[in-house]
Symmetry: C2
Subunit: 432 residues, 2 copies
């Protein structure tokens, strides 16, 4: 196992890596998306992945956007929604162009509550909406019915206000220390967030006690929601990762990946030195554990930006911290260790704060270099939940980002910086 090693990275990639490590994400507020998300209007719906023309959204992604329009009261029925979406009366935009990060289909509407996470090391903010709860039928998995709608209202009307007041009383909650500890307690902070949810809740409790004086029901429901949701923290780790990755974007000459997204036509990545465009690839390979009654043929690729966590050294890049994931997504502990170790071959360095106990506290492999992926053929390991053709979650597992995203990125890089720049980016003189 040869580690990529800092010594073989060029200065632009080292800077991207260092910015990711130096991030200091803090939950500073909870607000209404329409109030706090830049550029969000009452008639805007955000969805995972690159912004597409309405006609290009397929299957569950398309349905989820329509359901978002119904939920928000932007359309009276399916036909009305289709019509308004087709003529742009309802605008669909990409989550990440608004500082947001989308779970699965990633639907944001103006009335939804969002976590506001500030990266105090750089001053930027990112946003993520709430985990809908344990039901397999959730709007972000392309499902919609009275239960889905009522739960979204419950989050906005009961949970968000109580959480918001508790966060205000706490003066913000620093997330990185919780994430560091959670990695020592079986979480990789993508498909497993059990410890982080507990640690976050412990920070809140003393403050919820004060909130209960005026909003006893809100606090009781919030305690129940926190206790029933092992995935609650996922939305906080996603907002943290988005807030962490953004300052690493836009570094001239850097070939480091600053975002990855599943979308309805495949996988897309963004690269630090390549501007705001996305490099596209086909659907990913999948090695999943399906819920009973489903096969991988039932999978619908409706999107997903939670792989922002892998982008900054978490999730699949911290698998060896989370052996309990076997039960959820299949695989053996040995395979998890091997996959995790392979990620050191395609990253710039080892995270200075996120560490893996089983690897003797080695830092997680962080900052994916598109040149290393293209050269080795080793593609990023992504821990994801899987949506079915009829909506809802139908499984979970490991997918591999397709090599085309990275080879396309290499081509774009060389068209901008010239072929010789490859060596400057990755500094692999000995191998060149």
């Amino acid at each position: 196992m040869v580690s990529a090693g800092l010594e073989s990275a060029g200065p632009a990639n080292l800077e991207a890596f260092a910015r990711m490590c130096r991030a200091d994400p803090v939950l500073v507020d909870i607000g209404r998306a329409g109030d706090v998300v830049p550029g969000m209007t009452p008639g805007t719906i955000l969805a995972s992945g690159p912004r597409l023309d309405w006609g290009d959204y397929l299957g569950g992604a398309r349905k989820a956007i329509i359901y978002g329009a119904l939920f928000e009261g932007l359309a009276t029925d399916l036909e009305d929604a289709e019509d308004k979406l087709a003529r742009g009366a309802i605008r669909v935009e990409g989550c990440q162009d608004h500082g947001c990060i989308g779970s699965v289909a990633g639907i944001y509407t103006a009335s939804m509550p969002v976590f506001v996470v500030e990266n105090r090391a750089f001053g930027n903010r990112a946003f993520c909406n709430f985990y809908e709860g344990e039901s397999r039928r959730r709007l972000n998995y392309g499902a919609y019915d009275d239960g889905v709608r009522d739960q979204l209202h419950f989050l906005a009307d009961v949970i968000a206000p109580a959480l918001r007041e508790a966060v205000a009383r706490a003066g913000g909650i620093s997330l990185k220390p919780l994430m560091i500890r959670a990695l020592h307690m079986g979480d990789e902070l993508h498909s497993r967030n059990s410890a982080a949810t507990l640690l976050f809740a412990r920070e809140l409790y003393p403050h919820l006690l004060g909130v209960a004086e005026t909003d006893r029901r809100g606090v009781e429901e919030t305690l129940r929601y926190l206790a029933g949701s092992d995935y609650f923290f996922l939305r906080l780790s996603m907002a943290s990762s988005k807030a962490t990755a953004d300052p690493a974007h836009g570094i001239e000459g850097s070939s480091v990946v600053t975002s990855m997204a599943l979308y309805s036509r495949g996988v897309a990545i963004r690269v630090s030195g390549l501007g705001e465009g996305w490099e596209l690839g086909p659907y990913p390979q999948v090695d999943a554990k399906m819920f009973e009654g489903f096969t991988t043929d039932d999978i619908d690729w409706i999107g997903g930006e939670s792989i922002i966590n892998e982008t900054v050294g978490l999730g699949g890049f911290a698998q060896a911290a989370a052996f309990p994931l076997q039960n959820y997504q299949g695989g053996s502990p040995q395979a998890m260790v091997e996959m995790n170790l392979a990620m050191y071959d395609i990253t710039v360095g080892e995270h200075t704060d996120f560490k893996i106990p089983f690897l003797a506290y080695r830092g997680t492999p962080t900052a994916i270099d598109v040149f290393r992926v293209a050269r080795t053929g080793i593609t990023p390991v992504l821990d994801v939940g899987l949506a079915g053709r009829d909506g809802g979650q139908i499984g979970a597992g490991i997918v591999r980002a397709p090599i085309e995203c990275f080879t396309n990125a290499v081509a774009s890089y060389e068209s901008i910086y010239g072929p010789a720049a490859r060596r400057d980016a990755t500094r692999e003189d000995k191998e060149a």
Copy 2:
């Protein structure tokens, strides 16, 4: 790696193993030791290990008992305490003869609060007093000063009443489900209890909300105590393990260990089929990580019954669930896995509920058979905290129970049941 395997155990040992697995420990109350511990009188002090004559207690164990007398107001000064202890005006007895389980020196006095844990599968109860907090100077580590005394009063006067009311409102708290989950979150429930403490706290919070209506300060202090004490749950796991091991004791013909204790003259074990006596051995071997400024020469063996956890398949027998222990007690992840695997050679079976994610959810090695230890020479791995000659904790690490405890137990067994009975106990016909 040959697992001991159920097929090679005799019926008496299988019964002991099955009773350990079937245990259902529930925290049902918190009470004053003098009120709830059987046979506890105002003038009784309990200490770890076999009951000794006063003159046989050495070093820190002796000091801790004297300090207990001062704390309880049973003596006016050190000389008075020595005098009363020597003539039996203050009685010293073994924790385990009263259903209690002692951490390190294991000092119990009548006014101390204790957790009351009932094993609902068998109806028996066990008790453990409270974790004193993060200070290295603690009565159970043979240290005593105003700070130690004030903290013990604080636990009795502020924490215990709030916890007691919350537990009552909860109708008791089932501990086994929390322990099962904690093993999937980096705890082995002896030297690491971080996840179990969080999980326990989460069970309490909704009920503390009600308690806060009449005892706001008690609840606020309890939240602070729970948040500051990653070892809080240790006392609950110890009481659970004592409640779990007791029903496995007294099975005719069983060579299964039902208790282990460090005491001031070495290590002692009790065996299911050998009555109430203890089998004695010398001081253990130690492989420890000492706090800065201390060496293993500074260790004082002042006692410790927390290894009841190893007796029922936790602690050292679940090391591969707790890789973060490297930081606390040294060692490599690989060494932890190897030590854990070796324990399968000396135990009757694999726990039906306590499982280790890294071992693909294999059950922890459970129910130590003295014959297997004597035959293989593999001695139990114990995760312990270490006390110094001048009081206080000075390190933590792994100790190995001495072989003599087990060879002595084999001799006792054969003197009761006859040499041929060895084969009935362990059923290793092929090897005989």
